[in-house]
């Protein structure tokens, strides 16, 4: 057999789905000589040693780039004060780049450094992103969410605009940190950790406090809620009502560490969360969509199929998954 053909044959064997004919050919070739066997062993070794997915994925380049920029900031801050101002802007640009990809390369960078510009960070479905704000505040932005702020953030003010879900770890400063939620409510803080869920397609805005102090204020209310750690404020803009309850923090903040915790929610809401996390669309039989399911489940790093299996088995449902669409129905 000629060299090229042998390599194609070996490729097929290594890829693991040889045809019957190929198996037969390989058997004959393999048994023909020691040289052939040695060649196969060589390729098998190459195949086994070649890096696999897990090895790659234990390293997160965008997270590392953020960390790298923080290091650069510290280094340059200690050297020249004025360069610090530039380098944090660079850090911001770095974050934006991670989110938007290379489209920015073509844009004039002067835009970023001139008069206050509205900076937008958007995260698509199926993804999430760390954002380092210039004041040291860290924000983890969840799927299908956006965060906006003016480029003079940190100098004149600390105000940001959120739509969707985010977890905040706010650096303590006397200058208060303000989150404008869908232009309907504000959260005012000094330094703390909290989570906000405010997807425009959901009826309720939720703020959960993990640590510190937070003031929650609705635009149309004079009422100000002074929150304590472990509390969740639920505000419904539709009925203009506020309720405060003690909750399991992990259920609201766990997504940052890839937890997906589901407790007594309607099927519709569960599916909405899954569609954001896994970037799929759901079609639910309307008869069951609004029913409250008493699921009590915690998933970490699980695949969509694993989550769907668990939910449908315990809920007496069935599902069909095709490409980016999941159909859920009664059994």
């Amino acid at each position: 057999m000629e060299k090229e053909k042998i390599e194609i044959l070996l490729a097929s064997i290594l890829m693991g789905e040889p045809s019957l004919e190929e198996k037969k050919q390989f058997g004959e070739w393999y048994n023909a000589s020691d040289e052939n066997r040695a060649l196969y062993q060589f390729y098998k070794r190459v195949w086994n040693i070649a890096p696999n997915k897990g090895e790659y994925h234990q390293f997160n380049a965008s997270k590392a780039l953020n960390g790298f920029m923080v290091r650069v900031n510290h280094k340059e801050k200690s050297r020249h004060h004025w360069r610090y101002a530039i380098s944090w802007a660079v850090g911001v640009v770095a974050t934006l780049l991670v989110v938007f990809g290379l489209n920015w390369l073509t844009q004039d960078e002067k835009q970023v450094f001139g008069v206050p510009q509205l900076m937008t960070v958007e995260v698509p479905r199926g993804d999430k992103a760390w954002i380092n704000l210039p004041d040291g505040t860290k924000v983890m932005l969840n799927a299908e969410s956006s965060l906006k702020y003016y480029s003079d953030f940190g100098r004149e003010h600390r105000k940001i605009y959120l739509s969707g879900e985010a977890m905040f770890d706010v650096t303590h400063q006397d200058n208060p940190f303000l989150v404008d939620i869908n232009n309907k409510a504000t959260v005012k803080v000094l330094g703390t950790q909290f989570n906000i869920t405010a997807y425009p397609d959901e009826e309720v805005i939720e703020t959960t406090l993990k640590k510190g102090k937070v003031h929650f204020q609705v635009k149309e209310h004079s009422q100000l809620v002074k929150m304590k750690p472990g509390e969740c404020v639920k505000y419904s803009p539709k009925d203009n009502t506020i309720s405060v309850s003690n909750v399991d923090i992990n259920q609201y903040c766990g997504w940052v560490d890839n937890w997906l915790i589901i407790r007594d929610e309607s099927l519709k809401r569960i599916c909405k969360r899954l569609s954001r996390r896994f970037d799929v669309d759901f079609i639910i039989n309307p008869e069951i969509a609004n029913q409250l399911y008493h699921f009590d489940a915690a998933f970490k790093d699980e695949s969509l199929e694993e989550v769907l299996d668990a939910l449908t088995i315990s809920g007496g449902l069935k599902y069909k998954l095709s490409r980016k669409e999941v159909i859920i129905d009664k059994k």
């Binding site: 194609i8 070996l10 890829m15 040693i49 780039l65 790298f68 390369l105």
Partner: protein, 182 residues
């Protein structure tokens, strides 16, 4: 449009930070895995790779890389890892341990194996684009031949053909580089 390494490097030397970010994201994972293969821990590997990028970052205006950026990066990581291993005696003992290979049922020298896998790694990265795509989808992502064919819009026979080419390329590449390394 994907920009080449040298285009990005040139943009960066003129002050375009976004070009630097792109290079960082392009090579970070590969270099970290490469460093690990040379026998250091995950956390140390990340530090080493970031240090290498820090040199590039700081040399902004003065940057002059004669060979390709890729081989500069791989070599720098390799040198740094060896410096760490020499400095740290305990580490170097670990580096020299003899390991049992379940695949072949034989013992082999860890150093030899690290060296081999590290060079293999560069060879995979050097594969012609199409070959590399097929190799990575199959080996890295464990995709089936059918799926690879669909994803790349080629026939299953072409998938096999590209994989065959990849194998032969890797073999020649290992022959070349392995000789240089010893």
């Amino acid at each position: 449009m994907k920009k080449s390494d040298s285009e990005l490097l040139q943009l960066y030397s003129k002050g375009n930070v976004l070009a630097f970010n792109e290079l960082f994201t392009r090579y970070y994972q590969v270099l970290c895995v490469y460093a690990c293969r040379l026998g250091i821990e995950k956390g140390v590997a990340e530090d080493v790779v970031q240090d290498v990028f820090m040199v590039i970052w700081e040399k902004r205006e003065k940057i002059q890389i004669v060979s390709s950026l890729k081989s500069y990066l791989f070599n720098s990581v390799r040198n740094k890892v060896y410096n760490i291993s020499n400095r740290d005696k305990v580490k170097s003992d670990v580096l020299h341990q003899v390991q049992y290979n379940h695949e072949t049922g034989k013992y082999f020298d860890q150093v030899e194996s690290n060296e081999f896998s590290a060079i293999l790694f560069q060879c995979i990265d050097d594969l012609p684009p199409r070959c590399r795509e097929v190799f990575q989808l199959s080996r890295l992502e464990n995709e089936r031949q059918m799926t690879i064919a669909e994803k790349l819009g080629i026939s299953i026979n072409t998938v096999k053909g590209q994989m065959g080419k990849a194998l032969s390329f890797i073999r020649t590449c290992l022959d070349d580089k392995y000789k240089i390394a010893y």
